[in-house]
């Protein structure tokens, strides 16, 4: 088994978000045997679509698996939406502004797809976990 270490640091100087400085750090180790590799995908759809780019295919990994996402756009209003393509209504789970990233566990039973507020935004993404 391989180990992936994920660290997060949330900071804010005194007088910004709070009167006092904020400094929160955490780290966790994820045991994994497989990864999709760090991919860059040009997101070509601008709404829910049968052919929208697939970020994670249901049941390709066993739970627990972990997803990293990064919207590489540099303009805040350039959004990439991550939606649940398995559930009726295709609910949007995440809306990543330009520059945003996310790291979260994923439900192995869901297929996750992406679309952008405009076509051709670039999304970086990878999954760590155990192949199903």
């Amino acid at each position: 088994m391989a180990t992936v270490t994920a660290g997060i640091t949330l900071t804010s100087a005194a007088g910004d978000l709070l009167t006092d400085a904020l400094s929160l750090s955490d780290s966790t180790s994820v045991t994994a045997t497989h990864t999709t590799g760090l991919a860059r995908t040009k997101i070509d759809k601008t709404a829910v679509h049968a052919d929208a780019d697939v970020i994670f295919t249901a049941s390709s990994y066993a739970a627990p698996a972990y997803l990293y996402l990064k919207n590489t756009q540099t303009t805040a209003s350039h959004y990439i939406y991550i939606y649940d393509g398995t559930t009726s209504g295709d609910p949007v789970l995440l809306k990543l502004a330009g520059g945003d990233f996310a790291f979260l566990p994923i439900n192995a039973g869901l297929t996750l797809k992406a679309y952008g507020s405009t076509a051709d935004f670039i999304l970086e993404h990878t999954v760590f976990g155990t192949s199903a």
């Binding site: 992936v4 270490t5 910004d16 955490d26 649940d84 520059g99």
Partner: protein
């Protein structure tokens, strides 16, 4: 201004090492104005296996938080490796956080059903959860 930094490292998940490091400033929606509010780092103890709503999406009629930008940090502070919490958003299970694991993600409240809930893996436990929201506008705690 509030910033979030992430590192992902692994020496053995692939033939070559993985080393990802990114930093993002936490801005309000559609702008480069930093987020200016937080509910603070909260801690709660889950003792039942019922869903606990930690963040409630705003009512669209009030026009408050809908499509506003926010960042969510959730950590399962349990030290018992078999204990996990299930995290849902918009009534969809997004995944499970096992002891010591965390998530960080944007939360735009893109519809009024985008509540965030956590559920302990079993009743009768004392499972500590830590969570924090950095946001703009208003929200229902």
């Amino acid at each position: 201004m509030p910033t979030a930094s992430i590192t992902l490292t692994s020496a053995d998940i692939a033939g070559d090492p993985v080393n990802v490091s990114k930093t993002s400033t936490c801005y309000k929606a559609d702008s480069t104005t930093p987020l200016d509010q937080t509910n603070g780092l909260q801690r709660l103890i889950l003792t039942t296996a019922s869903a606990k709503e930690i963040y409630t999406a705003e009512n669209a009629a009030e026009g408050l938080g809908l499509n506003a930008n926010a960042k969510v940090f959730i950590r399962n502070a349990s030290t018992v490796t078999t204990e996990f919490i299930t995290v849902t958003i918009n009534a969809t299970v997004i995944g499970k956080l096992y002891a010591g694991q965390w998530l960080f993600m944007p939360w735009s409240q893109n519809d009024t059903a985008a509540d965030i809930k956590v559920t302990a893996s079993a009743a009768g436990k004392s499972m500590p959860i830590e969570h924090m929201l950095m946001h703009e506008g208003y929200f229902n705690a």
